[in-house]
């Protein structure tokens, strides 16, 4: 058993408890329809996320990873999302080096009141991942094209 | 921005009822260094009659205008008429929708390329040319002329389509008239309805609505109502006699802003074309000249008074300094 074959891709979200997880709840309460691909891991703060979690997910077979925290300046722990922003930005830059298409990873900020924004974020990100297709390391995977381009 | 070039779309009234707008616009643009290329074999913009019946046909007419321009290598279109502007803009806006565009292109039998724009003469003069350049060009300032600007309903609205000036309280023509030296009275009805084309099916509407505008202009003591729209101009000027039979007890000329520009730039009667207006501008201009002289006299009086005071102060100062020096010596 896994994601539904042909229908879904494996999309993993890391959401901070205070803002984005609440935003996803608000979207649910508002019945804002979303694609079913995403599975959410709840963390206390986006600053808790070790970039290696994201890599572990992507290398373990996830097709996309989405991180969402509180808006800058609005962190429940004062400054956790600032650390997250720096770490994740650096991570994004490194993904091609590892042979991973950086478009498979995105981070964003959604507050607990922004249910509609969460719907938009999930829908757009999932659509983007579907456009990229399943991640694999076959010779014609987009990841390898990037690696090859880098090599050239 | 000198040397800019635009494809020029005069609109149907430019060839008939608003010849004076047309002539003065061409002259003023020339003076300001704007090159106007006439769009070859242009057609109706698709305004009033077409768009009330069939939006696709209306947009198709506009699309053909752009296509004709594109054939001659023109992308940026300029039009004096707000109604044409509105329709041309609306066509571009609606054609962003692929389905709508396909229906239009089925009629025009050619796709509309991207990258077209259209602006009003007023917008280009105020935003692209700039008021500083206009000021430099003034030879005969309109000092002493009391004006109220009347923008009409379309020049700034709907806000999302026109994207020009404040939709409810526009300032561009106010500032332009000030740059020409005229006095601009705050005019609360500057975007009010003049009756528009409703005057044709409902004859009574224009005397009532345009009458209200003229009445307030008169109450405020304006010499002229300055307009930017051929249809407004017609309602306010050509039908003024009709309005007078309903109680308006004075006459007031209604020139286009470009006519006043031509006059202030010192161009000839042929370019300013005031004689094509229904209501005579001569009394207004003589009022202006009388007031200008009064202003001049007043300025001279104030200057003389100030000089007198300054001289007195200098005298006193010298005296007190002398006293001070004397005191020091003692």
């Amino acid at each position: 058993m896994s994601v539904l074959k042909e229908k879904e891709l494996r999309v993993i979200g890391f959401l901070c408890n205070w803002c984005s997880y609440g935003g996803a709840d608000t979207a649910g309460v508002g019945r804002f329809a979303q694609p079913t691909d995403l599975r959410i891991v709840r963390v206390p703060c986006s600053g808790r996320i070790n970039p290696l979690f994201v890599l572990k997910a992507l290398l373990g077979g996830a097709d996309g990873v989405l991180v969402s925290g509180c808006h800058p300046r609005d962190c429940h722990y004062a400054e956790g999302n600032f650390y997250a922003r720096r770490r994740l930005e650096v991570l994004k830059g490194f993904l091609p080096v590892l042979g991973i298409d950086p478009r498979r990873f995105e981070y964003t900020w959604v507050s607990a009141s922004e249910g509609q924004r969460w719907q938009h974020v999930v829908t757009t990100f999932t659509a983007n991942i579907h456009a990229l297709g399943p991640a694999s390391f076959s010779p014609d995977a987009p990841e390898l094209e990037i690696l090859n381009a880098a090599a050239r | 921005m000198s040397g800019a070039a635009f494809g020029y779309f005069p609109g149907c009234s430019g060839l008939g009822t608003s010849l004076e707008y047309e002539r003065s616009t061409r002259a003023v643009c020339r003076e300001l260094g704007l090159t106007l290329w006439d769009i070859p074999d242009w057609n109706c913009c698709g305004s009033t009659p077409a768009h009330t019946v069939d939006p696709v046909l209306s947009a198709a007419l506009s699309a053909r205008v752009f296509a004709q321009g594109a054939r001659a290598g023109i992308r940026d279109v300029l039009t004096p008429c707000p109604s044409c502007l509105s329709n041309l803009r609306n066509a571009l806006e609606h054609m962003e929708d692929e389905l709508f565009a396909a229906r239009v292109e089925a009629l025009t039998e050619r796709p509309l390329e991207a990258g077209h724009s259209v602006k009003s003469v007023l917008q280009v003069i105020v935003e692209d040319v700039g008021l500083d350049k206009v000021k430099e060009r003034v030879r005969r300032p309109l000092t002493g002329l009391k004006t109220v600007p009347y923008y009409g309903c379309l020049m700034t609205r709907p806000e999302k389509i026109m994207r020009f000036d404040d939709p409810e309280n526009p300032q561009s023509m106010d500032l332009l008239l000030q740059a020409l030296g005229a006095q601009v009275l705050p005019f609360p009805l500057k975007v009010d309805c003049c009756g528009g084309s409703l005057g044709i099916p409902v004859r009574d509407s224009v005397p009532r609505l345009a009458g209200r505008i003229l009445e307030l202009a008169g109450e405020l003591g304006a010499d002229m109502v300055v307009v930017a729209c051929p249809l407004c101009q017609m309602n306010l000027d050509l039908r003024q006699g009709q309005i007078r039979t309903r109680g308006l007890d004075y006459t007031i000329p209604v020139p286009y802003f470009t006519q006043l520009m031509a006059y202030a730039f010192g161009l000839g009667d042929e370019e300013a074309a005031f004689k094509l207006l229904a209501e005579d501008v001569a009394p207004a201009f003589s009022c202006m000249r009388r007031r200008a002289e009064e202003i001049k006299a007043e300025e001279a009086r104030v200057a003389a008074l100030a000089a007198q005071k300054a001289a007195a102060r200098a005298g006193r100062g010298a005296q007190s300094r002398a006293n001070g020096a004397a005191g020091g010596e003692a």
């Binding site: 896994s2 993993i12 408890n17 649910g28 572990k56 996830a62 609005d74 722990y77 650390y83 | 409810e168």
Partner: protein, 652 residues
């Protein structure tokens, strides 16, 4: 480990789009799962009892409930498993309602997703450890931010119950917006007569310390022990000497200052006492209008002051305070209505706001309670009220209803008739919104008894014509255009969160919505709590409301604060960081990133090591993600636990 899994139907909320029985049966195959079932309402008493019974019958050591969001019922179920003898942290939730059943209708996909979420929860639970809270002492003092009617009520209730209260108000006087009102609906009670005594109570209460003309500068700490820095703004008057005699305000030569309290209806002096009943009744100098500050020459107030209280060299002063809880009651402000160019955008003096009109009606206002046109001081006969100026108007970014304008407009129409019996009032409205005790009767009375003409429709334009203002609008019930020649136009301007509210929210670490209103813990069930423990909300800062609702919420916030601060000790959350001393290399990185200074360096047999101060740690996990050694781990959210969740998704 023996895990029990309970899949909640939540009536049809979940079961409508998730096959709960199928999820329960899939879960039986997950590692360590000893028992799995679906259940109608897990949170209801029979549901909780069933969970307890199952724990006992199947000797379960951990429980997963798949139901709604843990932000809703995690505390509920933790208590349930505790009642069955388990540690409350041997419990996990899978959110299959907000994140599954409510956002999609595809039963196959939803059921599959729910099962995966349960697998994640089981995988994490297998690594959960029993955690025990520590207890720490509580500072029994409450901070109330904002001295409007909501803050006053909260402060008085808490102080009467014996709690020490610190009130911080940014204006020179407390009283808020209510102090500006002439009368209140629906009783037409005199506003300052009912508020005044409460304000005096605040000043005289032995348990309340009032800092007026002050702002909260910074807040640190956590529930039970917040450290607050209060900035007392320089008033240039030594309030310990000022007697409020008002001599300075009579003699001040700068008479063109903007009168903030009177909404600019008339000018005032540079040194002011906002109004006669001000609390504290002390003078303060508005620097930008003062001649002494602008020209260096004047000093009149210093000369006339009988107690020598004027101090031009005064500086802002900072006060440190320790409090256990905080009530935010910062109220609202009117939106900037000048975006409405069709109403003149502020160009016409006889178009005023409702709050300005309120000051004109007030006997203690600048017109002495006589309604006068600002332009020529004449008494208006035709007064037009325009409602919803900046409310329910998407075009200016205000889609919400301000809630109280319909009622105060009706009140103002009544007062207009009382003040000027031969006047005529016209009210342009969209809908009359008057749900409340005696409210609808009130709006009927104004139409029937006071003959105010109510016109349903929007006003498209206001313009001056001679001495009159022409108000043109639509009468949508008649299907006609109407034009009224008015002497005065009163705009019922919509309200928005108080200026600076988002800034305060950031200091308090609470959330706010896109309009600046503070987010409550739960829209239905936690209306005065926030998601930050120890911070409560009262009044319009949480969402616009009228006086009775603000007072009720003030009392409610006080009750919540009292419940918290009635305890001598609080349990600390054990979901905090801890250091594995064997792995720690003393690099200090965790000490640098900790926003709460909760990690200190210790010396262990000559080796530097990190140590977590347990009562200070807030459990954000920043240190955990920073530690290069993996030596510092956030309990309940350890690296292994989070990776177990990731693996549950990737491996299968």
């Amino acid at each position: 480990m023996r895990i029990g899994v309970f899949i909640c139907h939540c009536g049809s909320n979940i079961a409508g789009t998730v096959d709960c029985a199928a999820v329960a049966s899939k879960a039986r195959a997950y590692p360590d799962v000893a028992y799995s079932t679906d259940i109608m309402y897990a949170c209801a008493e029979p549901g909780q009892d069933a969970i307890i019974a199952a724990i006992k019958e199947h000797l379960l050591t951990g429980v997963v409930v798949a139901s709604c969001t843990p932000r809703m019922h995690e505390p509920t179920f933790r208590k349930t498993v505790e009642r069955a003898g388990l540690n409350r942290y041997m419990f996990e939730m899978a959110n299959i309602r907000e994140h599954v059943s409510w956002i999609g209708k595809d039963i196959e996909a939803n059921t599959n997703k729910a099962a995966e979420l349960v697998r994640m929860a089981v995988s994490k639970l297998r690594l959960n450890r029993e955690l025990k809270p520590k207890s720490f002492p509580v500072t029994k003092r409450l901070l109330v931010v904002g001295g409007g009617v909501a803050g006053i009520q909260a402060a008085l209730d808490a102080a009467d119950a014996g709690l020490e209260v610190i009130m911080v108000e940014k204006q020179p006087t407390i009283g808020g917006k209510m102090a500006k009102l002439d009368k209140t609906f629906p009783t037409v009670d005199c506003s300052s007569c009912i508020l005044g005594p409460r304000m005096v109570d605040v000043a005289q209460h032995p348990n309340i310390t009032l800092y007026a003309y002050s702002e909260v500068d910074s807040i640190s700490g956590y529930v039970g022990n917040f450290d607050v820095k209060i900035r007392k703004k320089a008033s240039y008057v030594d309030w310990s000497k000022c007697t409020g005699c008002g001599l300075c305000t009579e003699k001040c030569p700068s008479k063109k200052s903007y009168d903030r309290f009177n909404e600019g209806v008339g000018p005032t002096t540079a040194i002011i006492i906002p109004f006669p009943q001000a609390i504290p009744k002390k003078a303060s100098i508005e620097r930008e209008y003062c001649r002494q500050f602008n020209t260096g020459k004047c000093g009149v107030c210093a000369k006339v002051c009988p107690t020598g209280a004027i101090d031009y060299g005064m500086q802002d002063e900072f006060i440190d305070a320790k409090v256990g809880g905080i009530v935010a009651a910062t109220g609202y402000d009117l939106m900037d209505w000048t975006v409405y160019q069709e109403y003149g955008g502020g160009r016409y003096p006889d178009v005023v706001t409702s709050l300005q009109y309120e000051r004109m009606l007030s006997a203690s206002g600048p017109t002495g309670g006589h309604i006068k046109r600002p332009s020529d001081g004449e008494e208006p006969k035709d007064v037009v009220f325009i409602q919803c100026v900046g409310s329910r108007d998407v075009s200016v970014g205000r889609p919400y209803c301000s809630g109280f304008c319909c009622m105060y407009t009706a009140k103002q129409a009544i007062l207009t008739k009382d003040h000027i019996p031969d006047s005529r009032s016209y009210v342009f409205y969209m809908d009359i919104r008057s749900p409340g005790k005696g409210y609808d009767e009130f709006t009927r009375r104004v139409q029937e008894e006071y003959q105010a003409r109510y016109i349903r429709g929007r006003v498209s334009m206001v313009y001056p014509k001679g001495k009159k203002l022409i108000v043109r609008g639509a009468d949508t019930l008649m299907g006609a255009q109407v034009e009224i020649e008015a002497d005065l136009v009163v705009l019922a301007v919509g309200a928005e969160a108080a200026e600076g509210a988002p800034h305060l929210a950031e200091k308090l670490r609470i959330s706010y919505d896109s309009y600046g209103f503070f987010m409550e813990g739960h829209p239905k069930l936690r209306p005065v709590e926030t998601n930050t423990a120890g911070v409560f909300l009262a009044g319009a800062c949480q969402g616009l409301k009228d006086i009775p609702s603000s007072v009720a919420q003030g009392s409610a916030a006080a009750a919540k604060a009292l419940a918290l601060l009635s305890r001598d000790m609080l349990d600390s959350d054990p979901q905090i960081a801890s250091v594995n001393l064997n792995r720690c290399v003393g690099c200090r990185k965790c000490i640098e990133v900790c926003p709460f200074k909760a990690i200190q360096e210790i010396d262990l047999r000559g080796q530097p090591k990190a140590e977590v101060i347990e009562t200070v740690c807030q459990g954000c996990g920043l240190c955990n993600a920073t530690c290069p050694q993996g030596a510092i781990q956030l309990s309940h959210f350890t690296d292994n636990q989070l990776l177990a969740e990731v693996e549950a998704l990737c491996r299968f």
